[in-house]
Every structure is written in C-alpha cells, then in structure tokens.
Symmetry: D2
Subunit: 388 residues, 4 copies
C-alpha cells in the first residue's frame, strides 16, 4: 500500500521538515519522536508505513528542498548532517512539486485554476501508482475570508465558478481541487480550506473525508490540558492572557493583523468552550524576526480557589514550530489514508486531537458536539483508529 502526501506549501519549513523527517525515520536514522501514530497505542491499526509515504505538492515559491533543508539546519530545526543522508528523498519530493496559485489568480479564472491543481494531483497519483493521495494545507495563514452566497451550497459554488466568478480564498481553492480529484483534504492552518457548506457537500458527494483546522502545537495544546484541569477541579478562571513571540515565515504572516485575526479566533475557542463561561484576557501574536523558526508563548492565568482566594498560573513554552508540526503532518496523512480506505466521507471529527478549531461531525465549527479536552480527544482518536 503506497500513499501520496500532497503538501500545499511544499517548500515551506513544515513541509520540508516533514519530508526530511519521514525519510530519516524510515531509514532508522532518528527515532519517531513526536509522531503520535508511531506510539505503542497505535500498534495494530491499519495505517500505512512511514516509509510508504510518497511526497509531492504545490508551492508558489522557489528554493529547492535541499536548500530549504540546509536553512533549517542553520536555524536549529534539522540536525547538521541529516539532509545529506536523505538527498535522494529530497530530490524525489522536489521533482513532484508543481507551481501553486495565488488569489486573485492571474490571467485565469478560479475554475480553470482549480482544474489545473486537481490535474496536478491526479497526475501525481497516476504517475507514482498511488492507492490514494492525502492533500494537506501547510501554506501561510490567510486573512479571514469574507462570506459569499456561493459558499452556501455546491450548486451555488459550481454556478459561480462556471460564470467565471472568483469566490474562493486560496485555501478553499486547493480544497476544491483536492476534493474534486477524489483526495482527502486536511487544513493544518487556520485558513478557510474545506470549512464551507459547499465544500462539505462536495466531500460527501465525492465520498472523500476532510479534517482540520489549525494544528495545535504550542499554547493551545497546553490550554487543551490546563483548561480541563481547572474545570475538573472546579477552580474559577478569571482571566487567561497570552503573548506569542515568533519569527520565521509564520511570524511574518501573522504580523499582518488580518492574518492574526484568523489565528486568534481559532486560539480563543478552547478556554471558553471548555470552561463554559466567558473568560477575560487577550492573546497577542508578535513577530520577532530574530526568533527564526522558534516561538515563545507566555500565558498568565488568574483563577479563584475556595472562598475566592486569588491565585495564578504562568507558563512559558519555547518550541520549534516546524519540529512540532511536521510529525503531526505524517500522522494526519496516515490517519486520513485510513479514513478514506475505510470509506469515510465528509468531516472526520475524530481527529480533533490535532486541531485548535476541530471540525464538528456536521462540518461546522465548535458547538456542543466539540470537546476541546486533549485527553478526551486522544481517547476518541485511539478508539476510532483501532476500530477501522
């Protein structure tokens, strides 16, 4: 069984780290630290082997993966000497990267652009003789997309695209292309992606699963265990404030207030939805160029104990985003392969473990059906994977 992994943003830090790492782990050069599906809890599930993943993708930028890997060595994400040991794998993935699209699309309408994207993916599947291809969006975060009537149903969307109207943000254009090509789609960013009624309908009709969104790799990961702790101990959280300092491409993107708005919306879900009451406090995302691929998150929680005694918790998380995200990309590729192979169509809400803003069983955001507690999400994931 051979599975394709088609990365939107295939020359980015996360994608490059994922390709280097998959090769290194498969070759036994490094342990699979950070790969959830490699832990003993997932023994016996019918997941493809890491070594059977074949990589390709879209990107709008230029540097080849070998050069990108060297940059990641310099910034401390990838160990010195490792890229040289997996040059063949990097070259193979590099050969499967095709030019992506920006929105607004130059000189073509979105329907034409989407068809070209879908065709790239289908050609990859055929050329490499793959059972299936999982498309995962790891491109830069988009500003929140405006609403449009064409988003409301597949008919409306089809009509709009047929008329040459450009109604989709880039992430949704990729999702449309993936689903059209019959490929599972995952959004690891806070962008819109498949999170539109029209695309939900498309996924169900085409019989393909989708999942997302916004990978949980730092501050929100911690919130997803700390907020349940406060709830279970009946401690009353008064304010939860956070400051995230990050450099790199992600940091530069999020320095744009519009893009940060998307991220912040998704970051703020966990605490309020877990506790069940509104909690005061702001979340800041600051671009600090010198931090490179690293990020530092500081959170400060004010809470009340018995008789109103005022207490506090602070934490500082210092992590390397690409190194936190990359193994989860591999996990998601394997799990979406399993979902597709087992006939699942539409939103895979059982993968909430990975996301800040997990899709609900009905394809919508949040709501009573979504549990943000990491422990519950993990139990759900395990039992789902075991039962496929």
């Amino acid at each position: 069984m051979t599975t394709g992994v088609w990365l939107v943003g295939a020359r980015g830090s996360v994608a490059t780290t994922a390709v280097v790492g998959a090769a290194a782990v498969a070759a036994g050069l490094t342990p699979p630290t950070g790969c959830v599906t490699e832990s003993p809890d997932f023994a016996g599930t019918r997941l493809p082997d890491l070594g059977d993943l074949v990589f390709g993708g879209h990107d709008v930028a230029g540097a080849d993966l070998a050069k990108r890997a060297e940059q990641l060595v310099r910034s401390g994400v990838v160990p010195a000497g490792l890229p040289e040991l997996v040059t063949d794998d990097l070259a193979a993935a590099d050969a499967e990267i095709r030019p992506g699209v920006r929105v607004p699309v130059d000189a073509r309408d979105q329907a034409t652009a989407a068809a070209a994207l879908a065709s790239d993916i289908a050609a990859f599947r055929e050329r490499r003789g793959l059972d299936r291809v999982v498309v995962i969006n790891v491109a830069s975060t988009e500003p929140p997309a405006g609403e449009h009537p064409a988003h409301g149903s597949l008919d409306a969307l089809s009509a709009a695209l047929a008329s040459g109207n450009d109604v989709l943000p880039a992430s949704s254009l990729y999702a449309y292309a993936a689903l059209t090509a019959g490929c599972p789609y995952v959004d690891f960013t806070p962008s819109t992606g498949a999170r539109l009624p029209a695309l939900d309908e498309l996924a169900r009709r085409r019989g393909v699963p989708y999942a997302g969104r916004d990978g949980k790799t730092g501050e929100t990961l911690l919130k997803s265990v700390l907020a349940p702790m406060f709830a279970q101990r009946a401690l009353r959280v008064r304010a939860w404030s956070g400051t995230n300092l990050l450099g790199g491409g992600d940091g530069a993107t999020l320095a744009d207030p519009a893009a940060a708005a998307a991220k912040n919306a998704s970051k703020s879900l966990v605490v309020g939805e877990t506790l069940g009451y509104p909690v005061d406090g702001q979340v800041h995302i600051d671009y600090v160029a010198d931090l490179g691929d690293w990020k530092t998150a500081w959170d400060h929680v004010v809470f009340d104990g018995f008789l109103g005694a005022r207490m506090s918790l602070q934490f500082t998380w210092q992590g390397c985003d690409s190194a936190l995200a990359a193994p989860l990309i591999l996990d998601l590729a394997r799990l979406m392969d399993l979902a597709h192979a087992s006939g699942r169509a539409g939103p895979v809400n059982e993968l909430a473990f990975f996301f800040k803003d997990p899709v609900g069983a009905d394809g919508t955001t949040g709501g009573p059906g979504v549990d943000h507690a990491l422990a519950t999400q993990y139990a759900t994931l395990r039992s789902w994977a075991a039962s496929r």
Copy 2:
C-alpha cells in the same frame, strides 16, 4: 442523613479553612469554588449535603478555631469579615476537638492511646447522632516510617500492640483508631496512614473503606495533566526539575529533610509512571517563612521534538495551599460517606483524582493498575460516583 467529618489536625490551616468554608457555602455566603462534588458533573449522585456535615477532630495544639480563622484572614486565605458570619459553626466544631497524640506516646502504650482515640470518635458519632464519621488526616507530614514486621498482617500488629510495643507512626495510629471505630479513613498527607498490609486487612475485615494519599493541589496536579500531554503527543521528556517555595506550618515541617523525603517520594511518582521511562531532574522543597500560607512552584521541563529538536516548558504556580486543599477535604468526606454507605470496604482506588500517590485496588502503592493522568482519574471518579 448527617455525616461527621473528624479531622486529624483539626486546628491546622486546612481544617480551619474547611470548617469556615463549609459553613459559608452552606449559608450561601460564597460560591463552592474548588468543590469538585458541587459541579454539575456530580448532580444526581447520592452525596450528603455540605450543610449536613458535622465537624470535630483531634489536635495536639491549642488555639481555638475562631483565632485560627482570624490568622487565616491576616494571611489572605479567608476573606475579611467571613469568620464573624460563621462564629456558631466555628464554636460548634471547636467544642468537638479532642487532644490528639504524639508518637512516641507519653506514659501510655499505643494500644491504650488508640483505644482512647477510637473512643473519642465513637463518642462524637453517638453524641451528634451521626450516620457515619469520615476521618481525614490533615496533620503535619511525618518523616517516612521505618518498616516493621508487625506491619505485615493484622495478627502481627494486634500481637505487637497487645504486648505493649509501639510499632506505628502517628498517622497509622489514627488510621488504626478510625478503622477500629468502624470509620472510613482518608490520608490527605504523604504519611503512612492506612497504607500498611495490617491496616488494609483491618479495613476489609471491619467493612470500612479507606483512601489516600497526599492531596494533589499544585505542582503534582499540573504534572498529572502535562505528563499525559507529552506522552500523547509522543514528545520525549528529557528532564523535569522543580522548586517549591512555601511558608506556613507545612513549609516548616518540610524544611526537615526527613519529612521532605516522604513528600518528594510521592511527588516523583507521576512523571515517571505516566511516561513509562525514567526522567532526569530533582525536586526541591524550600521553606520561605515570609510566604506564609502561600506557595510558589516553578517547574522546568526539557523535551525533544521531531528530529531531536530541544524544547522547554516552564510553569510557575502561585497558590494558597489551604484554599486548594480545604474544598477537597469536603469532597473526600462526601465521597467516602458514599463509599461507606454503598458497602465499600478496603481501598477506594476510584478516588485517585485527589492524590499524588493514590492507593491501588489491592491497597499497594503505584504499579500497573494506577493511572496518574488526571483526565482518566476524573472519568473514573465520575462514573464511580454516578453508579453508587
């Protein structure tokens, strides 16, 4: 249904806060923040009302509860003005406090002392017309007790006591007295308490439940959600270091290296047992007199992500120990009432949610049957309470 709560260390900060708080919550003067069993998840369980708890206890020290409550106002644990509103409750509890024992016991042998303690508890039950009395140890932490052959079985223990041998540490003497009087016993401290084969046998024979030990109120509470997070995300923890600064009576006790040893042994269980591999790092407990009833814990975790990327997490927890512990005392009194009422005898391992070193189903410490993950412990607790 009226339930007695007999506190060993009845004039200490935790006990005083519990008595003040139970009265204040029952009178509607303050919300039950920090009381787990008051949360909606426990609606419908057959727990006694907070207002039906009747307090008494043993203590070796002198100041009356009203004075102790005033001290707690000055140190910021209890709100100004509150003790005045519950003077009757304080006086009622005060009237039910009897002199405790120290070990070695003066002028009497342990058998005689234990009989006197048991008689105090039984008299309280009778005098106040209580359905049952839950005995909870909130006294100062003892140094780790030496092993003794008489601890191995009830027959050996009975023989030793009958011969006038003093073989029990104080916490176990209280446990012996409680169980002999037919009362459920809980150890909220890291002391030995009922955690001896001889006392486990006694509890089973007498048909009374016991639970413990070492209430989880700060650093370890956080470990019990953070360690599972690292495990579930397959991140490799390299070192977990901690420093606890605390004042108050507990801090003074723990400034004694022997007492601190007991505490540290219990504190170190969670991380290693949850992760399943040994983790480097020391835990310090420093007495800082000026912190009074407050404590600050700083933990520093070094961990590896994908491809060995070295990352870290730090947290600082600033809490008021008495305000964290007191509502749990009320929870444990109610839950042990339920255990006893429903016929449970021996260790109640379903209460692991509350403890750093939870008793196993067979009455022993740790081992494969014990899960330190807070989320799992909470789920177990809820379903156990709901099914009684």
Copy 3:
C-alpha cells in the same frame, strides 16, 4: 517648616495610599518601606519631615478618602485596620479636596478655570500657613495631546487663553495653574503636564521648579537596570518584548488605545536610548479587571553572546502599583520642596531616577543629556540632594 502636597487626582488609589501611608509612617505605625528619601543615603539632607507634609488636592470624583481607604484594604493595598488608626489625617486631607476640572471645561473658558484652580491652591497655602505647596499630578493618564502653536511660547499661550481659546490638555491646565500660583509641579503620569515650551518658560519666569514624567514603578524600573547590564557586558539585545496586565482605574484608562499610546511611548524610551541602537519588540498593556490594583509584567529579552550564541532572559514582576507609587509621591514632594527652597527654577533633571521619561536640563524629552541607567540616576539624585 511645613510643606503642602497638592494632589491632582486626590481621591485616586495612589493619592489615598500616599495620605494613609504618610500618616502611618509619621505615627510610627509602619516602616517607611519604599520611601527613597528615608534611606540612610539621604540622612543629613534638608528635606521636610514626612510628618510635616499637609495634604490637599483636586479631584473630579466623589468618594471620601476614608471610603477609598477601605476599598484599598479590600484590594490588599492597605493593611486591614490601618485606616482606622489615621482617620483624623484622612479627614483633614479630605477637607482640603476641591472639585477638579475636565477638559473640555464646562461653561467656562480655560483661563477662568485655571484661575480658579490656582486660587484653590493659593487658598490652601494661606489657610494652612504653608511655606510652599508642591503640586503632583497623579490623575488618570490622558491620551497624547495634539500639538498647538500656542504651546510654543508663553506669549502665544497667554494670548490664546486671553482670547478664550481652549488649547491645553487637562494636565497642562493644572500645571499652568500650579506654576501661576508659584508652586512646584510634578507629573507622575505620562500626560503632557508642564512638558510644553510655554510652560517651561512660565516656570523659569516664576522661579519655580518642575519635574516628571511618568513614574517608574515596574517594568520600566527593571529595564533601567537590565538594559545597562546588557550594555556594560557588551551583549547584543535583539528583541525586548513585554506584556503588562493590570486592572484598577489605571488599567481601565489604558485599555483605551489612545491613552495606552502615551504610556507606551514613554515605556519604550529606556531600552533604545540606553543601548544606543534600535531594538525589536512590542509592549502590550492589557486591562484585566480582576487584577484590581495589582499588575503583572512579563518581559522577554532575546540577546546574543559571544560568537552569536542566542540566549534569553525573562522576568515576571508582580506588584501593587499604588503601593509602589505612593512612597515616591512623598519622596517627590520632599525633594521638590528642597528644589524650591534652594532657589531652583525650571526643569529638575536631577530627579530622573523617578521617571520613565525624565525631563532634560533644557526642558525637552530624551536626547543625549538624559541617562536612563538607574544607578547613574541614583548617584545624581544623592549628590544633588546632599549639595542643597
């Protein structure tokens, strides 16, 4: 020698704490912790005694000082029981508080309003038989004031006011009134106050000193010792980020982005001017209502060592703003008394030790003549005070 202290914002937390504290220290009820001029380094200087300070002021709000003091007890700023011991002092100060003005001034022009303010201050001086009165602005932070040609010279300002034009922000109106009444003026806030060429000219002509601005009580205080440390050790600071969480009236004011802009401008001076090169990083001020009079500042500094090794420093400062500011108000009253008594007119740049944005010797902000290093500022202060 008796000195008046006229507080603009006389019913605020800082003013109330200063009045309570001056009385308590003078009565020997509490040590003068936080009073710089009470330290042995200032023995032998010709400062008025704390007990000789007489308080009055302007305020636009209503609650009397005794009630405000009780509020400060509840929020943990003032110890329980203390206000009762200084009721006479509170009542005496209360009797000397007059209605302040808001800008725009209702129904009067600014010239008339300023004359009324000056007359209040002069009447206080006369009524109480004071040698002199120091006016200190501890009112809420204003939004940054727009520039106006009338600010450029005393003639222009006088002409504008005479024509009935309202050209001054409130803080400058108070400064104008104070200087007109021949009183030293201090701005403890980041507001404009006396920091206008026209008012500098007025101060020099009237022979009265002024000082400010923006008291240095937390994050910036730390910056003023840490930035010189990095400079002296030739470590290269790459980014300095900060988040300030605060409640209380000051927090609410600063939740207004316009007011926060004034504060942030003043906060950002120290690091860049001390290091001599621009430093990346943002400073946030978040209003967290539940923090009350307390504030928490977290700063994160990224710096390079030898061969570019990337390192970091974080700090968390948890302080009570009123308790940090109030003793400095007493220091400034005493020191400005000394300045005036010794014939100083115009800006007193030797008081830079107290301020985030200290006035230069020429009455302007920043520039080569201003040293932000706390140690240098302290040495300057000491030798200046000793030589009067």
Copy 4:
C-alpha cells in the same frame, strides 16, 4: 606588544571557545559581542589587541582543540563552519598545551610539581617572545579547601613545600607557579587560587598582580543589578531563592555537593552584602545532563513595598555558559596585561565587575570595601583602565 594567555584547563569548553573566538574576532569573521573591552567605553585605553594574544595552557585531559571545537558546534556554542576557518589558530594553541597536575600530585611533591608548571609557563613566554603571560584558571571547580597553617604567610608556605608537604589545592598550586614565574594570575572559578595570605604576599613581593574570583555570567550578574535596584528604591527583600539547572562538565562537577558548596558560598555574597541585611532563601545547583553547555537559572524574589504590600519578581535566564565566559577571559587577559604593564602588584580589586566574589584591596574576601553593584563596578573599571 604580544601577550600570552596561559589557560589552566586549556582543553575545556571556556578555553576552547576563547581561542576560537579570539581568532574569529581578530580575523573579522564575527563581531566581538560580549567583549567588554571592545566597547567604545574602552577606546583609548592601552590594551593589547585581541589579535596579539597568544594562547597556551595546562590541562589534564586529552582531546585536541579542533575536536573540542567540533563538540562545541554540536552543542550550539560555536557556529557551524567556524572552527574550519581558524584551524591554524587552534593548532597553534594546541601545540602550546602541556600536561597539568592533579592534587594529590602523583609521585612528585608539590614543590617539584609547581616548579615544573612554572617552567612550562616561562618556556612558553620565551619560546614565543612574549612581553608577558597572563595565567587564567578556567579549570573545574574544586571542593572548598581546608585551612592549613602554611597558608598564613609566604615563609610558612615555603617551609611546608620545602619539607615535601602537600598543603595547596590544585588551583593554588597553579597560582603559586604563575606568581613564581612572574606572571599575573586570575581565578575565573570559585576555587581558592591566589586567595591565601601566603600567595598574596608572594604576588606583592614578585611585583605581579592577581585577580578573581568566580566569573559572574548569569544568575549572579543579574543579582548585581537587581539587588542595588531594590536597595535604591528602599524596597525590603524578604527572600531570594534560586535554582540553577546546568549540564556539561561544570554541571557534572557541581553535582558534587562539596564543589557546589564553594560555588554557593560565592553566589550568596551579592544579595546580603548589597542590601546590608540577611535575606532568606536557598540556592540550588542541579546537574541536568541533557542541557549540555546551556544553563537555566530561575530566581524568585519576595519583597515588601509601602505599608508592607507583598510583591514578587521572578526571572529565568537561559544562557550558554561558555559563550558568556569566553569573552570575559579575553577581557581579563587584556586588563591584567595592562595592570602588569603599569606596575600593579597584588590584588586588582578594580576588576570586581567580572566576579561573584571579588578580591578586596587588601586581598581578602568581601567586607566593607567591596561593592557588588555592577554599575559601580563598571564605573570603577572604566576609570581605572582609562587612567593606566
């Protein structure tokens, strides 16, 4: 003017980093970040150029400097690719490293061993045609040495050594050898080194300067600016607690409680001596192997403000010890060259800026003559260097 730098512990991380760095800075490959004497404040002083320093030293261990430099690349201290650019410099220094001694000395008495050490240094000076050689101890920290009557005077020491008695710890044996060879000696470790009356006498008689001890590179550096801040603001420090986590050779050495005792004694001087009153709190040094050459220090300060308001400051310092120490070694070599060239003999107390436990003007530790405030120490250093 060519100056020799003779490093005791010449194959250690600090020494290797210093040699790599001196070459890299001299070649213009990297800026002199962290070199105090390269800052504009030292322009115009008569210090030797960095490029004129010639390195050699003693060590008991084996790996050559090129290999040690590669290890430092792997642990992130030295940038990848840099050692290859300075291979000649590394080889040159390597060729000047001679076997050191351990105490107890094998098969020889200390007098013989010291003569051999002195002869190594003198031969280096002659062979390389150096104006002078500064000897700097950067070897592992020793356990505190016992007192011995022979330490009290040069006569007593000479007599003891002449009789074949081994009375000196290793660091003092090196100091004895250096001073005997007419070389300035600096102790960058907390070891005894030249801090004995007998060696002070020897230095004065031989007309050579010495300095030390225990380089101030992290927690104590911060204490030396924060403690004066609390003092100048008249804030009362109640407790100052610290935990240091470090790996590497230094960490392993300090895991030995005896060696840690020396370090802790020197670490605890600053706060108490600066504030002038005893301060509660412990300092821990924990060995965490996985931290390698990096260290993390967490400090927690409890202090009182006005009216006793209880506040706190925490900081976390994450630094690379070798990268912090190495440039100071270069500074000390240059400054001791200046001291010697200008005829200074005995303790150079003007270099207190660099040390946790600076030598007093009379050669003793601490006392009224020693100021731990970094700002004062810097001013002293600058004016001393400028006046030579």
